[in-house]
Every structure is written in structure tokens, then in C-alpha cells.
Subunit: 274 residues, 2 copies
């Protein structure tokens, strides 16, 4: 069966805080969606993170971040703030900007249409507060919206179907969406961030590895050539690949068109491309 091509793009923290860079990214995204819509080539879902706006607002309101064993806790006040900032300000700002670029964006959280059901994180020693780990993605709503030409823009807020909103990691959310939708679409997952891609030498922005396949990744981990900070991201990425996602691409948000063409960033695949 021929499956339509779908890009699930996570746009991360740093960009959100920098209006000019965000605008540049959204302009690329809108141009690509409009071109792709005309040519019926592929579709997009955008997932955004939170940036520092939530932290800034907490500070202004005099809320002290709660830390347990060095981990940030989402207490009731913090949940209220991330809901306001992620689902309100950031989500609607992105949607309005995309709309001004004639991209038919539509913002959602995991609560809307029961899109993403999660549960409060269970952890043997740390109570993370209102942090949600994902149970199910209700893909019907996304399929309906995509079929009708909308570009879903998702904020990393989910719910437990018992009236509780939950703060959820945007990378994980993007990955889960990509995995769940891979039964209906050929899914490609893009993690965009401030770096050029996965670097062979962390201090050398030009040392981007253009592709990494699974076996090569294991070797690179053993030799210590992958920086420790990248390992969780890459482990997740390979999990997604093993669970049905066709490609994971990691690279700089402003290079979005080149990332899609494989001319920038790092493309992860399960096996060598034949």
C-alpha cells in the first residue's frame, strides 16, 4: 500500500525565544507546506517546545523552581504557567504567524479531541509532579485535519482523561506521534535545534555526520565519539526508527529545506540505504 509522506517536525527551545530566527524557520515551513500542498507531495505536523518563556514568567511571579534530586518538578503553579505559555502564548503566536504566511496552521494540545492521553509519571524515588508520560495517541483527529489541509501545531501539554493537564516532553511527544502515525503514513521525524546536526567532533560545527545507521551508531557510542548529551536523543531516535518511522533527521531549524533534501543535518536510518 502506498502511504503518503508526512514530516513531523520538532522545533526546539532556543528558537522560540528568538523572534527573528523563529520567523525565518516559519517562513521556510510555510513555503514548504504551500509547495507540497500544490504538488500533493507531503504534509507536516509541527511540535514546539517551550523555551525560556515559562521560566521567565515563573521568575517574574516569584515562583521558585522546585528541584528534587536535581530534577525540575512541575508543581501546580508551574503547570498553570506552562499551560499558559506553551498552549496559549507560544502555540497561538506560531499559528498566527503561519496563518499570515498562508499556511493553514491549527494549534492543539493533547487534551483537545483527546489527542494524547498520558499518565502522571511513576518513578520509584522522584515525584515529578504534573509530568505526563504518554499512553496513547489518538491518530484519527490528526488524519482528519491533515486530509482537510490543516497543518497541526502541537504544544507539549497532554491530559490524563480525568481532567488533569500534564506537562510532557516535546521530543517524546514528537517521537510518539511519528511512531503512531507510521501505520498510516511514511513518517519522517525532524528534531531541529541550534546545532548543524550530530557532530563527529563536538567542537567542530563542520564535522556533521551526514548519515548514521544503527550499526554505525553502536560503534560510535563505543568509541565515545558521540557526545554524552546527544545519546538520549539518539537512543530515542533509533527507537522510533525501530518502531516504524522511516527516517529521523537532526539539524539546524533555519536549514529546514536543506534538511528535507538531505543536504544538511544528520539523517538516521535503521540500515544502509540500498
Amino acid at each position: 500500500m502506498h502511504k503518503p509522506l508526512l514530516y513531523i517536525i520538532k522545533v526546539g527551545g532556543n528558537l522560540i525565544d528568538q523572534p527573528a530566527r523563529l520567523q525565518s524557520f516559519l517562513t521556510h515551513l510555510a513555503a514548504l507546506t504551500n509547495q507540497a500542498a500544490k504538488q500533493h507531495t507531503y504534509q507536516f505536523i509541527l511540535i514546539h517546545g517551550g523555551g525560556k518563556l515559562a521560566t521567565d514568567l515563573s521568575e517574574k511571579l516569584g515562583i521558585t523552581p522546585q528541584l528534587v534530586e536535581g530534577r525540575r518538578i512541575t508543581d501546580t503553579e508551574t503547570l498553570k504557567i506552562v499551560t499558559m505559555v506553551y498552549a496559549g502564548y507560544i502555540n497561538k503566536t506560531i499559528v498566527a504567524q503561519l496563518q499570515s504566511l498562508h499556511c493553514n496552521a491549527l494549534g492543539l494540545t493533547g487534551a483537545d479531541g483527546n489527542l494524547i492521553r498520558a499518565h502522571k509519571r511513576n518513578h520509584p524515588t522522584i515525584d515529578y509532579g504534573w509530568v505526563g508520560d504518554i499512553d496513547t495517541v489518538q491518530t484519527t483527529l490528526l488524519q482528519q485535519l491533515l486530509a482537510q489541509g490543516y497543518v497541526p501545531v502541537l504544544a507539549p501539554i497532554t491530559h490524563n482523561q480525568q481532567g488533569q493537564l500534564l506537562n510532557t516532553n516535546a521530543d517524546t511527544l514528537a517521537q510518539q506521534i511519528a511512531v503512531q502515525l507510521s501505520t498510516h503514513y511514511t513518517t519522517r521525524l525532524l528534531f531541529t535545534f541550534e546545532k548543524e546536526g550530530v557532530l563527529e567532533d563536538p567542537n567542530q560545527e563542520t564535522s556533521v555526520l551526514p548519515t548514521i545507521h544503527a550499526a554505525q551508531y553502536e560503534a560510535l557510542k563505543k568509541t565515545g565519539q558521540i557526545s554524552a548529551g546527544m545519546i538520549p536523543k539518539l537512543d530515542n531516535a533509533f527507537q522510533a526508527l525501530n518502531a516504524g518511522v522511516q527516517q529521523v533527521i537532526i539539524g539546524k531549524a533555519e536549514k529546514l529545506p536543506a534538511l528535507l533534501e538531505g543536504k544538511a543535518g544528520t539523517t538516521l536510518t535503521v540500515a544502509h540505504e540500498s
Copy 2:
């Protein structure tokens, strides 16, 4: 042509600030939507106002409300706050609560899917700031969502299609939605608030006028029997009726089932019911 019945319900300020009353209202709404969905009798759109949460947050952040000729101005900081509070916190809290009651709510602003395009208010003497007056309601998205069984929950934030979000009066928004959708649905517009309905004697909660038709309204205005504060609301309501809305019902939010049955509140109609 048989048009399906659609209730457009505006739930106002006071309720939003009182979790127990809001919960009671949402429980009624969810029960009605679930029953109506089974019997295919009617559908709902919910529109919520802002309550005092935005004012409270502004105060906490030390933002002084800007007043020009006694009118509240939506400056850039205030717009950010109302976007966070209305589109973020209130909208998603209502959606999550309805979802917990098995009502398939989906939250939107006017920017999402280009649902409601507005322009910055033009006024000869007052610059209201980022206040939006509605140009067009894009009814296709609402029709699609209703057909798919979702209950749209709208926050009173619109956009100008040039990237600018705008703060928009929730009563007006509800009215415009009802008018625009009246070509596709038999629309009934409910303004729920803290009072029992339109009172013949403002000091007497039991003096609710069960119905007012247009000619009667003109007479009541002349005799001064309608309180001055209600006149703009009622003028708007009769405008909506003249523009295709079948009924406007005004009454207490917690009495939602009785309001729908005409057993509580005030029902406004253009002409005498035959």
C-alpha cells in the same frame, strides 16, 4: 431543507473564576452533549470569556491597566496575558474537564485554521490597542469538527491574518458564530451568566420574563423596564435574531438543561411563536 439544530453557548466571566460552579455547568453540558450525540438531536459550540484571571495575572506582574476615556486598552503586554490566560489556561482547563466527562471537546482560537479573521478596532477617538472587531467566520472548520463529533470550545482571541493576535469580545464572537452558521444550522444562541434571565424588576430574581419578542422589547425599552446594563446585550441579541439566528436564550449557566427546554431564563424571538 432540514437544518440540524446547533446550540452556541457563551459561558461568562463569573463562572470561570469559580471552579465548583464551572464544574457544575460543564457536567450539565457534557451530559447534554452525550445524550444529544446518541439521539442525533443537536450539537454544541462553547464560547468562554475570560473572568478575572487575566486581571489577577496582570496585577501580579505589576502591569497597570491602561485606560483611555474610561475604556480598558489591550496593550502588547495585556494581549500576551489574555492569550496565555484565555487560549492557554482557561481553554485547556475546560477542554480537559469536558474530556474527563466523555465529551469530545476541542479548543480553538480564531487564529486556528483561520477560523475568525478580525481587524484592529477603528475608533475616531480611542485607540483600544490590540482589540479585534470580527470580519469573517470561516465556518467550514466548525462544520467539519461538528460532523466528526467534536465539541468546539472557543477562546475569545482572533487574528488579523497578518500575524497579529487580537483580543475580541466573547459575546460578539458567540453572536457572529451563531449568525454565520445559521445558513447551515438552525442556530440557538445562549448567553449564560449569573442572573436568572432578563428581569422585569432588576431587584427581583423571580421576575424573569420567560419570553420577549421584538415588538415587546421596543415597548419595554420605552417604559424603562429593561435595565440600562442589559440593553447592549439585548440589542445584540435581536440583531442576531434578525440575521438568521432562531432563538436567543439568556439565563443562569447552572440551569443549562432547563434553559434548553425553555423552563428557565428568557427566550428572545423575532415574532410571537405561533
